[in-house]
């Protein structure tokens, strides 16, 4: 069942952290090494094998992480969320049978209490993906893109130019997007055009490439944070053309 909070596309996903309150000191360690434990090395090393067998379209792997339960997203850090994402994708693509996987875990550790049984959708995947079949990324027969690059040449000229005032409204549908919540509905100024790219909002759901012009849009910190803003700061966000409309003059 889909509660009102869960069906609201304005509801920010677990991953959409820009500007979120309540986070404390940066866990800063100068010259920090890339790995802190051997299991992190193994997770990193498996990325290519897992994504080759599952999430081959731009945005699919990120969308798997975005659908994780917050515990799985935050516990065990970055490589912990990769591992949980691997489990979700390998199950969804039916590469690894959750029963086989549980049996393998039990061989290591003895019987697994049901509350920690892994790859169970009730525990692992956010409600949107569970309850709305169209949000799952199946359609396996459609061939995956052959070209690895996400850059595309577009015949249509860009709709906006440097200096234009633009605004990105909140998406009307839930799903994968690269539009951060903290700039939704806020006016910004086009600073630059980047090379055109396929649209991850579409490819992550296997709905085609829909290539877009990509704009670097600058937001004055006061526009984003109001009176709390630090002085003399600008946040630049890269946004796909279909996110943007012309801002009303202000």
């Amino acid at each position: 069942m889909l509660g009102p909070m869960q069906s609201d596309p304005h509801r920010r996903g677990v991953h959409d952290l820009g500007g979120a309150g309540g986070w404390g000191r940066i866990p800063y360690e100068p010259d920090e090494p890339p790995f802190h434990a051997d299991w992190e090395r193994r997770v990193f090393g498996l990325l290519g094998a897992v994504t080759s067998a599952t999430a081959r379209r731009p945005g699919e792997f990120r969308y798997a992480l975005e659908r994780l339960h917050p515990d799985d997203y935050f516990d065990n850090g970055y490589f912990g969320r990769w591992l949980a994402g691997f489990e979700v994708l390998l199950a969804e693509y039916e590469v690894v049978d959750p029963v086989d996987y549980s049996a393998r875990l039990e061989a290591h550790t003895g019987p697994i209490p049901s509350e920690v049984r892994r790859m169970s959708p009730e525990r692992r995947v956010a409600p949107v993906a569970d309850r709305v079949p169209s949000m799952l990324p199946p359609d396996r027969p459609v061939p995956v893109p052959q070209r690895r690059t996400v850059r595309r040449d577009l015949a249509e000229p860009p709709r906006f130019s440097t200096g234009d005032r633009v605004v990105a409204p909140a998406p009307t549908q839930p799903g994968h997007t690269r539009l951060p919540g903290y700039v939704m509905d806020k006016p910004g100024t086009v600073a630059k055009l980047h090379p055109a790219e396929v649209l991850p909002d579409s490819t992550a759901h296997n709905r085609g490439e829909r290539p877009q012009h990509v704009y670097c849009v600058g937001y004055d910190a006061r526009t984003l944070w109001g009176d709390d803003a630090e002085p003399n700061a600008t946040v630049y966000v890269d946004l796909y053309e279909c996110y943007l409309t012309a801002a009303e003059s202000d």
Binding site: E32, A49, R178
Partner: protein, 207 residues
């Protein structure tokens, strides 16, 4: 690096621990022919030893030493990266942002942890932390002070949120007292954190 997979020397971990889960997944994928332990080892080795901040540091040092290259790097980094035969993941399109008097740049990815792997290697944990991702767009000066970098109040802070496939590299200011240094020596001053924008380049007095 990966000795004796699947021989049950993890009794102290429960089934939800990442140690046990990754070992079980790797064993299953290897048995199905979908993963190769030697390739996994080689990937790890490459990112622990061969691909790292020294690649970006070389770019920065060459740009410090050569004004023409600096200009090209700031206007068309993709061409410079191609000329230097730098290849690899997460550098489909690179933009280099120069720090200078009155301007300081800092890079983040608030939605995940995008980072120019082929130039800097894998990101440090703090870059991927929810604390950094949440706070640096909202209170960049406070975050930088916490990390040991105090900016002049008149300095404009530009925060680059890596939300498309463009990846950003900060060109830190060249430290004073390095006049006439060759690029190889300059490169030793270029830290990873200075290319993310949370630190200055190292002090040449410390060399």
């Amino acid at each position: 690096m990966h000795d004796e997979p699947g021989h049950g020397h993890h009794e102290h971990h429960d089934a939800s621990s990442p140690e046990v889960r990754v070992e079980a997944l790797e064993d299953l994928l290897v048995e199905r022919g979908l993963a190769d332990p030697e390739r996994i080892d080689a990937t790890i080795r490459r990112f622990e030893h061969d691909i790292g901040p020294m690649i970006g540091a070389r770019l920065v040092a060459e740009a410090w030493a050569d004004a023409g290259l600096r200009q090209r790097l700031l206007t068309d980094a993709d061409a410079v990266v191609a000329d230097m035969d730098i290849r690899g993941a997460e550098i489909e399109h690179i933009e280099v942002k120069a720090n200078g008097p009155g301007v300081h740049n800092v890079v983040v990815c608030t939605l995940c942890s995008c980072y120019p792997w082929a130039l800097l290697g894998l990101p440090p944990n703090w870059y991927k932390s929810p604390e950094y991702r949440a706070r640096v767009v909202r209170e960049p000066r406070a975050v930088l002070v916490e990390m040991g970098l105090e900016l002049d109040p008149g300095t404009e802070v530009r925060i680059w949120d890596s939300s498309s496939e463009t990846r950003f590299l900060v060109l830190p200011e060249r430290p004073a007292g390095t006049e006439g240094w060759p690029a190889e020596r300059l490169a030793e001053l270029v830290t990873r954190d200075s290319m993310i924008g949370v630190a200055h380049a190292a002090d040449p007095g410390g060399q």
